[in-house]
Amino acid sequence: MSTIHAEEAGAAKAVPVRTAPHASMWRQSLRRLLKNKLAMLGFAVVAFMFAACFIGPLFSPYTDNKINMAVMNNAPSLKHWLGTDALGRDVLARVLLAGRISLTVGLASMVLSVFVGTLLGVIAGYYRGVVDQLVMRLADLLLTIPSLPLLFIFGALLSEWKVPTDYRMYIVMLMLSIVGWPGLARMVRGQMLSLREREYMQATVVLGLRDRRKLFNHLLPNLVPLIIVIATFNIGGAILSESVLSYFGLGVMAPTPTWGNMIDAANNMIDFQDHPWLWIPPGFSIFATVIAINIFGDGLRDVLDPKQKR
């Protein structure tokens, strides 16, 4: 902090600030986030999952998904740390490869729905009127249909149309973002409407600023925290939905492994009781990832968007 000199009467003095000078709200938020132990734990778990899934398989000799009848349903051993499945494939390698798909699907569908949701939400909230009505009624329509049944129908159609399994992953991403954007657009629009009423936005009108500056220098920077928080929760939600779809055989299909369809493979009493290594690893992966993402998201919300409490 700068030293205080007696300035001329009426002149203000430096406000004593403990934090480093000119710390923006972003840097402050980051500092507070780093202090939040639970959120950092969540982040560590997510980071570990990503690292394991994307780097781990490089060190595994079993990534070719080759069927090996000699080692069907083997229990965990030194050779196969998490055992093998009914076709003799290494479960650990498959869990990690499945993680690649699940995490990619979650991430990509989040990016897509954030993009669409933000764009439409900003347009609706900024221009209001007819555009707002159109966008929001479309969003309402999508929100009134429960998303899981909608996804089931989509999934069933995909199977009916015999979409090649290689493409299904991309189509699943698309499906998830179709059900993901309306909620986001709604929140972004709400935030836009509330920001418009802030005095500092009125000040931009009084100053006669151009629309472009109002939007990019004043509105968007205040939207980003909200978007980051929703986006984080969205990844978790998308991973969960993808797992459910795949579990029911409507999402990404075998032989491409995902956490959901791996659990499906253990979908009988015998496997459930006698071969727990088939379903516990993918199940635990889903559980740990989604929980960790949500914990991290909660922490993010606390530091970025303290008013937005559930």
Partner: protein, 323 residues
Amino acid sequence: MTEAQALLEVNGLKKYFPIKSGLLSRTVGHVKAVDDISFSIKRGETFGLVGESGSGKSTVGRTILRLTDKTAGEVKFGGVDLYDLQPDELRRLRPKMQLIFQDPYSSLNPRVRIGDAIGEALLDHGLASPTEVRGRVLDVLNACGLSSYHFDRFPHEFSGGQRQRVGIARALVLNPDLIIADEPVSALDVSIQAQIINLFRGMQEKQGLTYLFISHDLSVVEHLCSHIGVMYLGTMMETGPRDELFRDPLHPYTKALLSAVPVPIPKLKRERIVLNGELPNPADPPPGCKFHTRCPFAVARCREEVPLFRDVGNDRKVACHLV
């Protein structure tokens, strides 16, 4: 008052807010926030608009600046009716008439550095080239009692008084003709309040500014303003030059208002006109003189006939049957 000299002229300004009700949100009535207000401010003058909450004084300021649309009347700024302007013409005229907000916390964007907040309008209006902006902002920061090192700081690093200085700097950098200040010192502590009031005065002397100073605090208004208007329930009750109005208030409401201000002199015996009751519902104002329900001098005529806002000489106008 000669019309030619007036920088701001407000004639018969009305602003009604619809009251909506029911399933189809039909308009069932109006809150007459501003109900036929007229006044004018000469160049270099400070006009104080006084009134209690619900008097519509802030709405007057906002309607003048077209932050909210008028219902009727005209607002002439330098001879031009602001309501005749196209959006882009209005935008380009805006630097000439600035607003200073009451709340120094919510009127600054928390994510914009002070220097950028003050300089961005200069850029947008092409009033300074990108290379000149920094110098212009530093000049105005210093003039407002802030320092160069504040340029890169964010609002949260400032105290309330300093933020209000930033708000003033943001307006002043545009070299405005008119500044509308909406309760600019109400949120500040006494010792800081005095600093800001002095800043307002100093700036006026230096730049020949014209102020419309909106406030509920009569002692501040007396200190700063050369002319004063008193509003009640959306209507102007009395206008006049400061000294005359404070020495000899004509309207009973002005009298009551003046006598209600607590004075920091203990055991001072003052004759106080205590008003009865509360402000009537602005959606359903009393007939006749709007003040008659609380006026200690009201007669039968006040209940029936709306008093005219008429000239009583000495540059004073008043709306009261009893004067």
